[in-house]
């Protein structure tokens, strides 16, 4: 049999398997929740990384763990790969469907199954929206701490898959620090519980591997989460500086003084210009850099820490300090920060958002190097990022109408990431690897590192059916290049922001 003929045979076998899968699934689930109409499928062709698209052949809108089990078992029977998706807000293509594959959508699993305020925990289904949980436990003075920027639309199942952070993770940690247990439907359709209601459990802590595994080790069907106590006091300020270096050094000084702020964000001039133009939040666009600092906790601690922060900002050369006197002023400051990515559209018609991490101590130096790289490429870069944990989000600006500009911007974005790794940082602090950064994994990890990770993946998914092609370099992915960032519909409407 020739190669072409063989491929045709494989393809027709696959088409037959898919048809049988769809028919079988429609006998198990209400047919209206098994989507096969191309017009409906198009809506699921990408997640928050809209530059990558693939149309699935089947979208399954599951409403229970058992429906996930049925779907996965059927997929196994026909040897079909599948991808899980929550709200689809991920920024690295982790929930990008497989072309003509199966997409299992958990966004209808939105029940909060239990709230236990005495023991500071809650049990939720994976489709529960991040901020809905905080709202549900607010009457008890509690909240769910991880606060990714998309928290009003992103699902907790997606947060588990991506190990989501947020502006306040400097003090409160990431999703992995708040997940006590996960019930997971494994890639073979079996169900297990990793972890539980307590902080430790018997045997290996495989919950640690599952959180942040980008949906490659199974599909989460229930999550036991730790709840946090709402701080009784919050103080927020914005400090303007005449140089990026002075602002960066002040970040180091605050941390070195033993203060762990709830949030510590930084803007450069370009970012300030864009944010202020978009929101009128009171940021000074003539400053070279600004810090947004927030401390929270018990009143006694907050007052002491806040005094230290103010003093260090002054010592660091802050030319102006604006303190939020009430919740309105505070939310205005945050509105300016949260609008930053969408506001970059005011600076240029095209921009690429990068997500890299550097050790805090080299923050100023790296920002200088980013500026130098940008100059070499003849491009501008706006910086607005989580300075407290060294998580950079350079916005590489370009003009799509200028020939070669886009390609230069892509090169610059990649070089910035390489710079992060050279300085001992990471290729991603919160957006994940997905399809976008699979090729850059080798700049951070050795072949041996990846080989051991692959062994872990093989333990969970020996048949490579669960979100294949994600999180690892493959020839197919590495032949592709990251695309231009295009805001999602939700971002364009101002519903969510990309930080």
């Amino acid at each position: 049999m020739g190669a072409v003929q063989e491929q045709q045979t494989i393809r027709s076998d696959r088409v037959r398997s898919l048809a049988r899968f769809q028919a079988d699934l429609k006998s198990l689930l209400p047919p209206e929740r098994v989507l096969t109409d191309p017009a409906e499928l198009g809506a699921y062709s990408c997640d928050g990384l809209v530059s990558y698209r693939a149309r699935p052949a089947t979208v399954v809108l599951v409403e229970s763990r058992d429906e996930i089990v049925h779907t996965i078992r059927l997929a196994n029977r026909y040897g079909l790969a599948f991808v899980a998706r929550g709200s689809g807000t991920g920024l690295s293509g982790g929930a990008l469907p497989l072309e003509d594959g199966i997409l299992i959508v958990t966004s209808k699993m939105r029940r909060i199954l239990e709230v236990d305020p005495e023991n500071l925990c809650a049990v939720v289904e994976p489709g529960v929206i991040n901020s809905d949980l905080s709202r549900a436990v607010e009457p008890f003075g509690l909240y769910y701490a991880p606060d990714p920027s998309s928290q009003i639309v992103c699902s907790l199942g997606g947060n588990v898959a991506e190990n989501s952070g947020g502006a306040h993770c400097l003090k409160y940690g990431f999703t992995t620090n708040h997940v006590l247990g996960v019930e997971v439907v494994l890639p073979n359709g079996e169900v297990t519980l990793l972890g539980g209601y307590a902080s430790e459990s018997e045997g290996l802590d495989l919950r640690a591997a599952l959180v942040g595994s980008e949906g490659t080790l199974g599909i989460v069907s229930k999550i036991i989460l730790r709840l946090s106590v709402r701080p009784e006091a919050v103080r927020t300020l914005v400090a303007d500086f005449d140089s990026v270096r002075a602002a960066g050094d002040t970040v180091s000084a605050i941390i070195a003084a033993g203060v762990v702020p709830a949030a510590l964000e930084m803007f450069d001039t370009l970012a300030l210009v864009a944010c202020e133009a978009a929101t009128n939040a009171g940021y000074d666009p003539t400053a070279a850099a600004a810090l947004l600092v927030e401390v929270d906790g018990a009143i006694e601690e907050v007052e002491a820490s806040y005094a230290i922060v103010v003093e260090l900002c002054r010592q660091g050369g802050a030319r102006a300090l604006r303190q939020a006197h009430d919740e309105h002023e505070r939310s205005l400051m945050w509105r300016g920060r949260k609008a930053a990515f969408a506001a970059a559209g005011r600076l240029a018609n095209g921009y690429i958002v990068q997500d890299g991490v550097v050790p805090r101590r080299v923050l100023s130096a790296v920002l200088d190097e980013v500026a130098e790289l940008a100059g070499r490429h003849g491009l501008r870069v706006a910086n607005v990022f989580h300075a407290g944990d060294g998580n950079l989000h350079p916005l590489v600006l370009f003009d799509p109408a200028t020939p070669g500009d886009h390609a230069r911007a892509e090169r610059l974005a990649t070089e910035i990431l390489e710079l992060c790794v050279e300085h001992g940082g990471s290729i991603t602090g919160e957006h994940g690897v997905g399809v976008e950064k699979a090729c850059v994994m080798l700049s951070m990890f050795t072949e041996s590192d990846l080989a051991v990770m692959h062994r872990l993946r093989g333990v969970f998914d020996p048949n490579d059916l669960c979100n294949p092609g994600k999180a690892y370099p493959t020839p197919r992915l590495c032949g592709e290049r990251p695309g231009v960032y295009r805001p999602t519909e939700l971002e364009r409407k101002g519903v969510i922001e990309r930080w």
Partner: protein, 405 residues
Amino acid sequence: MIEVVDSQAIEELKGRVFDARESAPRGVAIVGHGSRRSCGRAVEAGSTISTAGLLGWSHAPEDMTLIVGAGESISSVQERLLPHRQRLSVDPPLRTVSGRPDLGTVGGLVATADQGSLRYRYGGVRELVIGARYVTGDGVVAHSGSQVIKNVAGYEIAKVLVGSLGTLAILTDVAFRLHPLPSETFEIVVDNLSLAAACHLGSRLARQSVSLSALYHWDSSMVGRVEGEGLATRKLAERVARSLEVDLNDLPDGDGSVRVAIRSGDELSQRFALVCGGDDLVLRVACRSFEAHQVEKLVEAWCEPRPSLVSFLGSGIVDLRWDERSLVDGWERTSLGESVRHLRSAFPSQWWRQVPTWARDVVVGDEIVSLDPNAVALMRSFKAALDPEFIFERGRMGAWYELKS
């Protein structure tokens, strides 16, 4: 990740692993200072690999991160961080090696997840580990994680190694997140308090915004620790004490002997670490954050001889402790084993989790009832994936763990 242990030491270690594979039928024990050898079940080992020579140090004070060789001692780590007013936020039980007090090595701490009372604020050891380098059972040297606090690239295998009792790989370098070393410490002590009352008060305290560093109940006393800088810390401690006094009045079974006191320093917590590190047989149970009293009820119903209980409130960890010297008779040990088997089956399966124990085979037996078969299968498969010949710490996790699925 920066590698702090030199390449020659790594090559030698790989050589030892290959040698151990050659004599695989006998297995190999991985030992640092040997202070935590009694954690888990008895190990079948024909040879020993010492990790005490895996030394190295890279501290980034501005980043509050530390990469350290697995053989470095915890005491020395804390001493070297002291001038920078930083610490690794662990206070493991103080154990004894050859008659000397010893906090053990970094590798031992990570392998046994041996956190103390600071788990209340900083979580377990897993929350502090941000990266690691390790050698697998087939001699592969690999990294996981990073030296930066924020990183989501790759599977967090470094965290899976935490508490794995050395059964998966030999740790060589570990990257930690550090915290500021507080200048002021106060302990708020409530004496003559039942565990049930402590759980009730502790839960109420936790729902206030008071940021305790530690909260535990032991020997009829509940101790809360407040740490921080300057006058604010004293004010906070006083507020905690006032709040407890108010809450005590609401206790249904409160009596006049209950007293709240504030003490400067952490003398009680140091004594606590000493007690926790003693030679007792310990079975560790994990329940919901403030339900240790439910464990106590089951213990009273099922356990003879009766253990003393040490409860880490807020994390749900309860240590059942038996003085080994009092268990002199064979029948008593058998009785204890029976009690624990009853206890295990009495625990609601999703609420109670038995975690690494310091009780050895005398108490725990071989069966495992708190994990479902699919979780067991995954753990066995991962063990086989990283240590294909089952040479590392054979038997330590239990016979259930070392069967190829």
